[in-house]
């Protein structure tokens, strides 16, 4: 806003008072109209006329108007046309055409006695302030005039209105100067004749919603000033906003604001401004919709979309009005934008974030004291704002190596496909397209990843970065929301959440790009909170169906990304069952939640039930107890000794926890002890394979420790300062030191860290593999059994082959390494069984033809980190006749001379006989095969061949078919090597594929799976239903 000064002498120097015609816009305002009329009657301005426009009132308004003004001064409309319609009707009067000024006045506004005179004075009598087109008064509350309602308004660059006033801000004279603003409210708006004649009237399409913004904007474009004078005062009842007019708005405030904002932009901005502003607007709009959808605020998201739709439908009208607005333009956009706020109004976002986060507090603790009255000692009046600002500062440093234009690689980061459609394609595909194929369905998580990739401008690499960067804050928010409900102490919840997000396991997961585990870290606190509510005495605060579905959604999201979450849920539920209050109800709700979760990820459930170890287990995690105690499943930034601050702080907090949180603290302690114990047993291979998942147990322990910290701090905050000095005070001091040092050092580590993921996260030797020729192939990753991941992009081990001192951990991937298409999906099936057999044979030392054994799998390379192979295993690999060590710095790479293509037509005599064998000896002794490689086509493979045996190194699925040439007959698959597929096809055929004479095109495709399609749609319906049931209420 621009401040100008008034010149009182200017008014007194006026020779002749300007005429003012008040256009009183009335609609069902009988209850307060008399005050409005009385205020008009009391005006001191000498040349004042009044005309009322009744917008089809159904109450006594018209009678009152007629009584007060006379029939001639009342225009009765047959329908409510809003301010714009009323103005249009009014200016047809000769008096309106002649009046120097029109004063638009709502029926729920009452002017101060000299308001009109002051408005006119501001419009015409301020020295040096020329071309004043619009003037508004200082608007105060109808009931309490001390409270400010309006002092002129502004917008951001995208036309979203905002006021500089805080809610309930008291008038202390802080705005008592004439302000040049972007727009003033139409509740009392003085308009110069020159202005409305030049720019036209209000846009009637807005139906009274934000039409004042557009009008004033156009006035500014035409070179008129818009002022707010505090000398004129009006009280405003805002009857429509309070719902006192007896009419329901069909849409939310967001809808009307968004509609008007976009329309105003399209009308009022210049072309050059629109060229850069509209794309930014689109990006932010999509991000907003995404956020709203993620937050299950579907109605708000729909309103946003509906506002866009309205603008699309009304685009012709908008363009016509744009021509008019631009034709009278006298100033550039930048002159108007001086009165607008910054493009990104970060503080407003934080306020909104705080409001959203504290919903949990309001829902969970009705009688809890207001936070701002209690939290001044820790984080001031806005803990979320303060924490968010600090977090953003640290995050900006932490993310510095990630936000560049290059795609991320390294760590255990699963590669995203090149297009968003690949996620949906995989989701809808009848067979798995990765590694050894098979019928394993894709995880519903792919829908989320695909949607995120789509909204990230169709750029999955960007989506990957967004996800990686967003998940730690989301995990912290999830933890905060959980703890604030349980403790009713935002500062305590913040400390707990900070401890959680700064824990070694969180930083390790981020450093390694473990998106699935980060999702688990984000969802487990939500599940823990719901389980706590389910087993609590008070019970859930929402309806039971809503609660059960909410719990199911929380579990399902985690499950879809990281099935091992189920183990963590199991621990949490078992502890609640042991220490909860209402076990019957809690168990029922928990089972209900799991059932709902199962329904939401039902394609994965069958696999989990058939082979639980493949989905649930993980072989990652350090074995030493001290690493596990400080919650560090691996190495990297933030996993150092300082990470022990969390367990130490938890122990201190547990010691001081008060009676009100003691039961919860004991349960959390059980969670911690169970998590740590299971993590150690898991890492050291004492658990059955299906229950082996060190990282999830460590996450559970981190969750428990963070919760204990929150309980302890909450207990301390309730009165440690009022108690006699003693242990609690000492513990509080020590706890403060531990948390300060721990969080500070971790923050410093964050700021300085070199993450495992980054733009150059692949080993220098990777090009040896990457540049090894076209076509798909597999990589077998090997290393000693030590709980570490493989070098990027090998990802985590899929299992262990026990062979005494030659034992190894292993993983098989496609040529690009681990991929996000396999999110939430284990590796299971006869192909993997065959792989384990072949590996066992290799490590037994009895074979020198492991290459031939691995060949049918398509394994072209066996890769290990330098020095990571157990010496006996290295000796056995070196002894292989058909595997050659390739020189490569940093990696030990063996190239398999006997690798078969993923799909090929083999012409070697006897291959089909060998393929029918399942015995390793026959495979090892097979002669080198010859053939033609088939190229991938998206839904199969194709190539030219003279016939032979089509071999496909994918797990057997009867839905595959091979066709040769123009032959309409498709050949079904035979089992090859006991797990893969072979199709005997005839020789030659027509040259249908355009190949050399005597060759034919061979294609291998999969028949459409109707059941799979139905399942997919069913899954979509289930998710939509679940999200709808658990949706948040709209913001209006």
């Amino acid at each position: 806003m621009v401040t100008t000064s008034t010149d009182p002498s200017a008014a007194t120097d006026a020779v002749r008072s300007p005429s003012v015609l008040v256009v009183l816009v009335v609609h069902d305002g009988a209850s307060w109209l008399h005050e409005c009329l009385a205020s008009l009657a009391a005006q001191t301005h000498p040349r004042l006329g009044v005309v009322a426009v009744d917008n089809a009132s159904t109450d006594d308004s018209r009678a009152l108007l007629t009584q007060a003004l006379g029939e001639a001064r009342v225009i009765a409309l047959s329908e409510n046309l809003g301010v714009a319609g009323a103005m249009k009707a009014a200016i047809e009067l000769p008096a309106a055409q002649k009046a120097d000024y029109l004063l638009v006045l709502h029926d729920d506004a009452a002017l101060g006695p000299d308001a009109v005179a002051r408005l006119v004075e501001a419009a015409s009598g301020i020295r040096g302030v020329e071309r004043v087109g619009v003037v508004g008064p200082k608007v105060v509350d109808w009931e309490d005039p001390r409270v400010l309602r309006e002092v002129g308004r502004s917008t951001d660059a995208f036309g979203h209105p905002f006021t500089p006033l805080q809610d309930g801000e008291i008038d202390q004279g802080q705005y008592d100067r004439v302000l040049e603003v972007l727009f003033v409210s139409s509740c009392a708006m003085l308009i110069a004749r020159e202005a409305w004649q030049r720019i036209g009237l209000f846009d009637e399409r807005f139906a009274g919603h934000h039409d004042d913004l557009d009008f004033c904007w156009r006035a500014r474009l035409a070179g008129f000033r818009v002022l707010m004078t505090p000398l004129a005062q009006a009280r405003h009842r805002d009857a429509a906003g309070k719902g006192e007019r007896g009419e329901d708005r069909p849409r939310s405030t967001r809808y009307y604001a968004e509609r008007a904002a976009l329309a105003s932009m399209l009308k009022d901005y210049g072309v050059l401004t629109l060229l850069w502003l509209l794309p930014v607007y689109a990006v932010l709009g999509v991000a907003r919709i995404t956020f709203l959808l993620v937050a299950r605020r579907f109605e708000d998201a729909f309103d946003q979309l509906a506002a866009w739709g309205w603008n699309v439908v009304h685009l012709p009208g908008t363009l016509r009005r744009r021509l008019r607005a631009q034709s009278v333009r006298r100033v550039r956009d930048r002159s108007v934008r001086r009165f607008m706020a910054a493009t990104l109004r970060v503080p407003r976002w934080f306020e909104r974030a705080e409001a959203l986060l504290e919903e949990q507090l309001e829902e969970g603790t009705e009688d809890a004291p207001r936070f701002r009255e209690r939290a001044a000692t820790i984080a001031g009046a806005h803990p979320v704002v303060v924490t968010s600002v600090i977090a953003i500062a640290i995050g900006a440093l932490a993310y510095r190596t990630i936000v560049g234009p290059e795609a991320l690689t390294g760590g255990a980061l699963a590669g995203f496909p090149s297009s968003a459609g690949a996620f949906f394609h995989e989701l809808a595909a009848s067979t798995r397209s990765t590694i050894l194929g098979g019928a394993q369905p894709a995880s519903p998580a792919l829908a989320g990843l695909g949607a995120l990739s789509w909204v990230s401008f169709g750029n999955p690499a960007l989506a990957q970065k967004l996800l990686l960067c967003a998940l730690p804050p989301i995990a912290a928010i999830s933890m905060y929301r959980s703890l604030v409900r349980q403790t009713a102490q935002p500062p305590a919840a913040i400390l707990g959440a900070l401890g959680y997000v700064m824990s070694a396991v969180m930083l390790w997961s981020f450093s390694e790009g473990r998106i699935a585990l980060l999702v688990a870290l984000a969802t487990l606190p939500a599940a823990w909170d719901r389980l706590d509510a389910a087993f609590s005495k008070a019970g859930p605060s929402v309806s039971m169906p809503n609660f059960v579905v909410g719990l199911g959604v929380a579990i399902a999201i985690g499950l879809a990304f990281e099935p091992g979450v189920l183990l963590g849920i199991g621990v949490l539920a078992a502890v609640q069952l042991l220490g909860g209050r209402r076990r019957g109800r809690g168990l029922t709700l928990a089972i209900g939640g799991v059932v709902v979760a199962g329904a939401l990820v039902f394609p994965l459930i069958e696999d989990l039930l058939r082979a639980p170890a493949a989905g649930l287990s993980s072989s990652v995690g350090r074995t030493d107890a001290w690493s596990i105690l400080r919650l560090a499943p691996g190495g990297g930034p933030g996993t150092w000794a300082i990470a022990a601050f969390l367990p130490i702080a938890a122990a201190l907090s547990f010691a001081v926890v008060g009676r009100e949180h003691r039961l919860r603290a004991w349960r959390a302690l059980l969670v911690v002890l169970a998590g740590l114990g299971l993590a150690w047993a898991s890492a050291n291979r004492y658990l059955p394979e299906a229950f082996t998942n060190t990282t999830i147990y460590v996450v559970v322990a981190a969750l428990g420790e963070a919760a204990i910290i929150a309980y302890g701090v909450a207990s301390l905050a309730t009165g440690v300062t009022h108690e006699r000095f003693g242990f609690r005070q000492v513990a509080a001091g020590v706890l403060a030191i531990v948390m300060s040092v721990g969080l500070g050092a971790q923050a410093l580590e964050l700021a300085l860290a070199e993450w495992e993921v980054g733009p150059n996260g692949l080993p220098p030797a990777w090009p040896v593999i990457d540049a090894s020729g076209p076509g798909d192939f597999k990589i077998l990753w090997l290393g000693r059994v030590n709980g570490e991941r493989f070098p990027a992009p090998g990802g985590d081990p899929q299992g262990i082959i026990e062979a005494g001192p030659a034992s190894v951990r292993y993983s098989i991937t496609d040529r690009e390494g681990i991929v996000a298409l396999d999110t939430g999906r284990g590796t299971d099936g006869p192909g993997y069984d065959y792989l384990r057999r072949a590996l066992q044979e290799l490590l037994s030392g009895s074979t020198s033809n492991a290459g031939a054994l691995l060949g049918p799998l398509g394994v072209r390379f066996v890769v290990a980190n330098e020095g990571d192979l157990p010496p006996p295993a290295a000796v056995r690999l070196d002894a292989q006749l058909d595997m050659d060590l390739v020189p490569a710095g940093g990696l030990t790479i063996y190239r398999n001379a006997r690798a078969l293509p993923v799909a090929s037509v083999l012409t070697s005599p006897g291959f089909s006989r060998i393929a029918r064998s399942t015995g390793l000896l026959a495979i090892a002794s097979s002669a080198r095969s010859r053939g033609v490689k088939l190229a991938a086509t998206g839904n199969g493979w194709s190539g030219s061949s003279e016939g032979g045996f089509v071999y496909v190194a994918q797990q057997f699925d009867s839905g595959w078919r091979a066709r040769a040439g123009a032959s309409p007959t498709a050949v079904g698959p035979q089992r090859a090597f006991g797990w893969a597929m072979g199709f005997p096809i005839g020789a030659g055929g027509s040259a249908a594929g355009g190949g050399p004479r005597g060759t034919a095109t061979v294609t291998v495709t999969h028949d459409r799976d109707l059941i799979g399609t139905v399942e997919l749609w069913g899954l979509a319906v289930l998710w939509l239903a679940a999200l709808w049931i658990t949706r948040k209420p709209g913001s209006s």
Binding site: A625, L676, Y686, G726, F727, R837, S846, L881, L921, I923
Partner: protein, 470 residues
């Protein structure tokens, strides 16, 4: 102030004690887990279900040469054997046979060039493999040697001579699907190691064999040794010597590094032996050796005081009497020793050393008939080696005698039972010790009567522990 009055939760001493207890238990548990429990031991995996292996035979050859690959299956299951001919061109499968248990066989191999070799793959059991080379138009004599089961990146080849009338070759074999890149360094007793540009970073394509003529680099030396270092890939290497006066001889190299103590058996020779010692490292080498004979053992004359300089090849002549074995101990890195023995008339034989074992296959060392096979059994240990000799008859073998038992006294080298050995000279012999260990070698004359025919000597093939017949 009374806490109860303030409405504040009063501290609980029990809570503090519980915390201390929990922390103590956790820390003690961690210490216990780290010190006394540790990770669960990884189980030994099951035995292999698809045993297979390979032999690399860089036998070399020449115009008109006849090379046979000798195979023997000492096991109890049939073994599928595939022989692939390797040379300067594309490889080709020579034979795909099944060798029945307890049998031996001889398969002709391609050997028209010096750079010739054979890859022997076997599946489903274990076979022993070696070669017997019968020189053709460019030389006379017979050479025999077992093949090597391993390939690698460094080979030490101690035995060669480039005196007048001698032609020495190094045969390098790349039996793998990846290109090999290697360099040769030649050592003599007089000059610095010879490294030349054309023998540096030599590229050998997959499944190829190449021979290098040592005379081109070091002419006129009685003792020439070679080290072959591969920087890329894996290779197998042997030496091949042709003399117009002394027949042919070949011996494998040592892969990587030679054992510090090796046994070098030989016999049925004229009593003249030359030890070729390669010292590839810069340091001097200390040598000690003892000569085992049928009735005595004694230090090898002149060897105890010798200390060959580094980066050199030296020869140490000595005399023996009848079947003998030299137990040689070398103190120092990069040392390799071969024993060159001389037949009664002119032909020579050569062999590298081996370490004692309890089970061996002695492959035939004769080429054609008439022939006169011999067997040397050396026991360098301190207890008698009681062993049983069993024929693994060839496909065309006639009447085969039953197993015989032989005891080799400690510190002795004896001749195998003549009648037994002579019964099937073209069949392999399985020798298994029920106690003690030993080193066998076949030493034979072919194509003539004793004293006027081609002489060859070859070590036995040790049987891996898993495949020793019970």
């Amino acid at each position: 102030m009374d806490h109860a009055e303030t409405g504040i939760v009063v501290r609980s001493r029990g809570q503090v004690l519980a915390t201390i207890l929990v922390v103590a238990v956790v820390v003690a548990g961690a210490i216990y887990a780290e010190r006394d429990v540790g990770a669960r031991d990884l189980a030994a995996g099951p035995a292999g279900a698809a045993p297979s292996g390979a032999w690399f035979c860089p036998h070399g050859g020449g115009p008109g040469w006849g090379v046979t690959i000798e195979l023997a299956n000492p096991g109890t299951e049939p073994v599928h054997v595939r022989l692939t001919r390797l040379g300067g061109g594309k490889p080709s499968v020579a034979a795909d046979i099944v060798l029945q248990p307890g049998q031996s066989d001889a398969v002709p191999a391609r050997a028209e060039d010096r750079g010739s070799g054979t890859l022997v793959e076997y599946f489903g059991g274990f076979v022993a493999a070696g070669w017997v080379a019968l020189a053709g138009s460019d030389a006379n004599g017979v050479a025999a040697e077992p093949c090597t089961p391993s390939a690698g990146d460094r080979w030490l080849l101690p035995d060669a001579s480039t005196l007048q009338n001698d032609q020495a070759f190094v045969v390098v074999m790349n039996p793998f699907a990846a290109t090999a890149v290697f360099s040769l360094t030649v050592y003599t007793d007089k000059s610095q190691p010879i490294r030349t540009e054309d023998w540096t970073d030599v590229v050998l394509k997959p499944f190829r064999v190449q021979a290098f003529r040592l005379n081109a680099k070091a002419l006129g030396y009685d003792s020439v040794s070679t080290v072959v270092d591969a920087t890329v890939g894996r290779i197998a290497a042997s030496s091949l010597d042709l003399t117009t006066t002394g027949g042919i001889r070949s011996s494998l190299g040592y892969l990587g590094r030679a054992p510090s103590t090796v046994v070098l058996p030989a016999g049925f020779d004229q009593g003249r032996t030359v030890l070729s010692v390669l010292s590839s490292s810069p340091e001097r080498v200390a040598l000690a050796g003892s000569l085992l004979e049928h009735d005595a053992s004694q230090p090898v004359a002149g060897l105890a005081d010798s200390s060959p300089p580094g980066e050199s090849a030296r020869s140490f002549p000595t005399t023996t009497n009848g079947p003998s074995a030299i137990v040689l101990t070398a103190q120092g890195p990069g040392v390799a020793v071969a024993r060159r023995t001389f037949g009664v008339v002119s032909d020579q034989g050569s062999t590298i050393g081996a370490v004692p074992s309890a089970a061996w296959v002695i492959l035939p060392t004769v080429a054609g008939s008439p022939n006169h096979p011999g067997l040397v059994l050396a026991n360098p240990g301190t207890e008698p080696a009681k062993l049983t000799l069993t024929y693994l008859p060839g496909l065309e073998a006639g009447s085969i005698p039953g197993p015989v038992t032989v005891t080799v006294p400690p510190g002795r080298a004896i001749q195998g039972p003549s009648d037994f050995i002579a019964a099937a000279p073209e069949s392999a012999i399985l020798a298994i010790a029920s106690s003690g260990t030993f080193v066998p070698a076949g030493a034979s004359y072919s194509l003539g009567r004793e004293g006027s025919a081609a002489y060859a000597v070859a070590l036995g093939v040790p049987i891996p522990h898993a495949w020793v017949p019970s």
